[in-house]
């Protein structure tokens, strides 16, 4: 199903923000990774990936997060995640140590702030 996940791109205070809604698994993760990595222009300090509306994210999605972070850091850009407290996906991000590699914030405001202050 093509509409399993949607990535909505916007700019907040000069920071590119991708709101990823829906479900991510092996059927759509590779495509999403390419789409999202294209979003940050070279002059942007980084990228906020907002997972507030992400309903499902398995290991394929988690791998996508690691690879995105690597790709961006190669361009001296930072990846910051928004994962609200109480989000169902938070537990699996923690047990796979995503939080060790990528900064996770509860709110979008915090995430944007984190990038701007670098």
């Amino acid at each position: 199903m093509a509409g399993m996940a949607t990535a909505i791109v916007e700019r907040r205070d000069g920071v590119p923000v991708v709101r990823l809604a829906g479900e991510v698994d092996m059927s759509n993760a590779p495509r999403l990774e390419l789409d999202i990595s294209d979003v940050a222009p070279n002059d942007a300090p980084g990228l906020v990936l907002d997972l507030s509306e992400t309903e499902y994210l398995d290991s394929a999605g988690i791998r996508m997060l690691f690879e995105l972070a690597e790709r961006l850091s190669g361009r001296r850009q930072t990846l910051v995640l928004v994962v609200p407290a109480g989000s169902l996906i938070r537990h699996s991000l923690e047990v796979t140590e995503v939080d060790q590699a990528v900064a996770m914030h509860d709110t979008l405001g915090d995430a944007i702030e984190a990038i701007r202050t670098g």
């Binding site: 199903m1 093509a2 509409g3 399993m4 479900e23 698994d25 092996m26 059927s27 499902y56 398995d58 290991s59 394929a60 988690i62 791998r63 690691f66 690879e67 169902l88 996906i89 537990h91 699996s92 047990v95 796979t96």
Partner: protein, 753 residues
């Protein structure tokens, strides 16, 4: 025997002038005026009766014998410029043959300097008063006996002029003692020739008109055939058979396939054995695509080839293989027309018309006719191909407009099918839809837009989206369909649709529905009884802006099956719709329980013919009580199946006491094991994997089984799946067996987590 021109009286001037200048043996003609008039009247009467050109010419030749001549020859100019000869015939066949041979030699020797060719070329007549001892060409001594027997005495050649055109010449030969033609006879011959010419020309015109009419009738019939059916090859076969034997002994149609190769689409002959014979030859000696002549050349150049005659030398030259030559000789080709099938400036193939055993030969007129026929056939071929493309486009559009996934709603099972019509033009506007409404109920739609083709599919998209939007606005089925009906006034055409729209509420296990000109939903109760539920029937949507759509209530207790369908499932030619619905009721009663299998069953039983004249859409729904104690499913080993599995697992887990986080974590764990099964376990062949679950006390156990071997994770960032499973579940065991891999995972659920 030398030619002795000085012994001849030759008149090549106007008959009256000739009469004045010429000395003759008789002062008058060979006929006395009274008899001449009577003869003329008789001849006119005979000719007036005949509208058959060939017969007219034959009558012309016959009529003058023996009254006015002992032998009469008619030479008629053919459309291709050649001469056609018809004679009265000599009582002695040897003499007749000899005469024909003399004429042939005469023509060869004299060309248009004298004789019939000269008369036709100049319109001037010839009178030979006495040729008894001096033939105009040399007679070899071996033939002098025959010439003696013929005893030619005198002859006249006069032009046949009709409507200002010289259509041929008449030769009157006298072999009778004392009958030598005079200028008076020449004058009479002229008179006669004019009458004959007019009669012959009339019958020619009539025949042409008749042929034109026949051809028009033929073309009309061919066009009709070509237009009515889009099953290309069958149509071409019919057209090919229409041409035999009237227009051809053989007819073949070759087409250029998608890969550019040329294939035979139709071959016709009145004798099926001969068709087989031709196919045999074709198989053994396939046409060389680079051949400078024949079908490959016509297809390459888009130009017709026309052989009015096929002399044996031509075959010998064209065919190297002695066996093939023998076979072609056996067919006995006498004349061939090969014309291109051209549409929109592209050559799509070639039409070949062959005269063989009939010995007929084609002319320019036939060529024009064949080209006309080929043009029409080409348009049909082109259309059929376009339709095929359109069919593909319609089906693609249609399927892109149908929901890819039915909503996952706890306590409701869904299954749906859509089968496009097989005939290109009939694919159309059937649709189904299931919409999860905000209040936890679900909207169900089955609809059928009037019309077919791309347009109907596009209109269907409008109806579908509008109804979705109105359904989500709330207000119930009546309000939604009324709004949809009002909206149709803004549609460009008078677009119309029949539909059933219902909103099922799992809380009350009932459905409120509107039926707008659509066949009634069928309900199968758990005991197998099937009833058609008509409810409050209303007008189709788009008929009247003032139509009212009132909803009816239908109880759907758990394990009751609701079947919504379009008329393609129940309609059969020559059968009342009610009978079709009654048949479907019986089929549904016997259908298997599994909703997916049930859908397949009703389609297979109701519409077993793979050729469908109409679209078929089916939507089945069943409220179910989820069994918290166990879960089982078998899925295709494809990534797209993962989201289905998640929905089913979540529905099951919601029926247990698991918290939202526990449901998510178990679903992730089972999803990881399944993703591994999909990713690692299989080769190219289609495969399946199984997921089973149990709830014992507060312990949920899930098994994922496949028939492959669990491979070690490769690459960076891999292997996280197993890590996730380990972290999210309390007890995980992986068993690798020869027949496959089983992952067992277990955890407790409940408030403690």
């Amino acid at each position: 025997m030398p030619v002795a021109p000085d012994r001849w009286d030759t008149i090549t001037a106007e008959p009256h002038a000739a009469m004045a200048d010429n000395e003759t043996h008789h002062g008058g003609g060979v006929l006395d005026p009274q008899r001449a008039l009577g003869f003329l009247a008789e001849a006119s009467a005979v000719l007036a009766r005949s509208l058959d050109y060939e017969r007219t010419l034959s009558e012309v030749a016959q009529l003058s014998v023996p009254e006015f001549a002992d032998w009469c020859g008619v030479d008629v100019v053919q459309p291709d410029g050649s001469l056609r000869q018809i004679t009265s015939g000599h009582p002695d066949p040897r003499i007749e043959d000899f005469l024909m041979e003399l004429r042939r030699r005469y023509r060869q020797e004299k060309g248009t300097s004298e004789g019939a060719m000269h008369v036709i070329a100049t319109g001037e007549s010839e009178l030979m008063t006495d040729v008894r001892n001096a033939p105009r060409i040399e007679i070899p001594s071996a033939e002098s006996g025959l010439y003696e027997t013929l005893s030619a005495r005198s002859y006249m050649i006069v032009p046949m002029v009709a409507r200002g055109r010289t259509i041929g010449a008449l030769t009157f030969l006298s072999t009778r003692e004392g009958r030598n033609y005079t200028p008076v006879d020449l004058d009479f011959a002229h008179h006669l020739a004019r009458r004959f010419a007019l009669a012959a020309d009339n019958s020619r015109l009539y025949q042409e008109a008749e042929e034109a009419r026949e051809r028009l009738t033929f073309l009309a019939r061919a066009s009709e055939l070509l237009a009515q059916t889009l099953e290309l090859e069958r149509t071409l076969e019919q057209v090919a058979y229409l041409t035999v034997p009237r227009l051809a002994d053989w007819c073949a149609i070759e087409l250029v396939g998608e890969d550019g190769s040329v294939y035979n689409a139709a071959t016709a002959h009145t004798d099926p054995e001969k068709v087989k014979f031709a196919e045999e030859i074709r198989k053994r000696y396939p046409a060389d695509p680079s051949s400078p002549t024949g079908v490959p050349n016509v297809i390459r150049t888009g130009k017709s080839e026309f052989y009015s005659e096929i002399p044996d030398e031509m075959l010998v030259q064209a065919i190297d293989d002695p066996e093939q030559l023998r076979l072609m000789r056996e067919i006995g080709l006498s004349s061939i027309l090969i014309v291109p099938l051209t549409a929109r400036a592209r050559t799509l193939g070639a039409l070949t018309l062959v005269h063989a055993e009939s010995g007929r030969s084609y002319n320019e007129e036939d060529l024009r006719f064949a080209e006309d026929l080929a043009r029409r056939a080409a348009i049909a071929v082109d259309n059929a191909r376009l339709y095929t493309q359109e069919h593909h486009a319609v089906v693609t559009l249609q399927q892109s407009l149908l929901p890819r996934q039915l909503p996952d709603i706890p306590g409701i099972e869904f299954a749906a099918r859509y089968l496009p019509a097989t005939s290109e033009v009939d694919v159309g506007g059937d649709w189904y839809d299931a919409i999860a409404l905000g209040d936890g109920s679900v909207g169900l739609v089955i609809g059928d837009v009037a019309g077919h083709g791309l347009e109907a599919a596009a209109v269907m998209g409008q109806f579908r989206n509008a109804l979705r939007a109105y359904a989500l606005e709330g207000g119930g089925p009546g309000a939604a369909v009324e709004r949809l009906n009002r909206l149709t006034r803004t549609f460009e055409q008078n677009d119309m649709a029949t539909l059933v729209y219902g909103e099922f509420d799992a809380g009350t296990s009932s459905m409120r529905f509107v039926r707008a000109g659509h066949p009634p939903p069928l309900v199968r109760s758990p005991d197998g009884r099937v009833t058609a539920v008509n409810g409050q029937g209303s007008l189709p949507v788009g008929v009247s802006p003032n139509a009212r759509y009132e909803a009816s209530l239908l109880d759907l207790s758990p394990d009751t099956t609701l079947l919504l369908y379009t008329d393609g499932l129940v309609e059969r030619r020559g059968e009342a719709l009610e009978d079709g619905i009654a048949r479907l009721e019986r089929i549904l009663a016997d259908a298997p329980d599994s909703l997916e299998e049930l859908c397949d069953h009703v389609i297979e039983q109701s519409a077993p013919d793979p050729e469908r004249a109409d679209d078929i859409a089916v939507l089945a729904l069943r409220p179910v009580e989820v069994d918290a104690a166990s879960f089982h499913t078998s899925l295709r080993a494809e990534p797209s199946e993962l989201s289905r599995l998640r929905r089913m697992l979540m529905r099951w887990l919601r029926a247990t006491q698991a918290t939202a986080q526990q449901i998510y974590d178990i679903t992730i764990a089972a999803g990881e094991a399944s993703a591994n099964a999909i990713e690692h376990a299989y080769g190219a062949r289609p495969a399946r994997f199984e997921v089973e679950g149990t709830l014992e006390g507060d312990t949920v156990t899930v098994w994922v089984r496949d028939s492959g071997s669990w491979r070690a994770p490769r690459g960076r960032h891999r292997g996280r799946g197993l890590k996730l499973i380990d972290a999210l579940m309390e007890d995980v065991r992986i068993e690798r067996r020869k027949e496959g891999t089983e992952v067992m995972m277990r955890r407790r659920i409940g408030s403690e987590g």
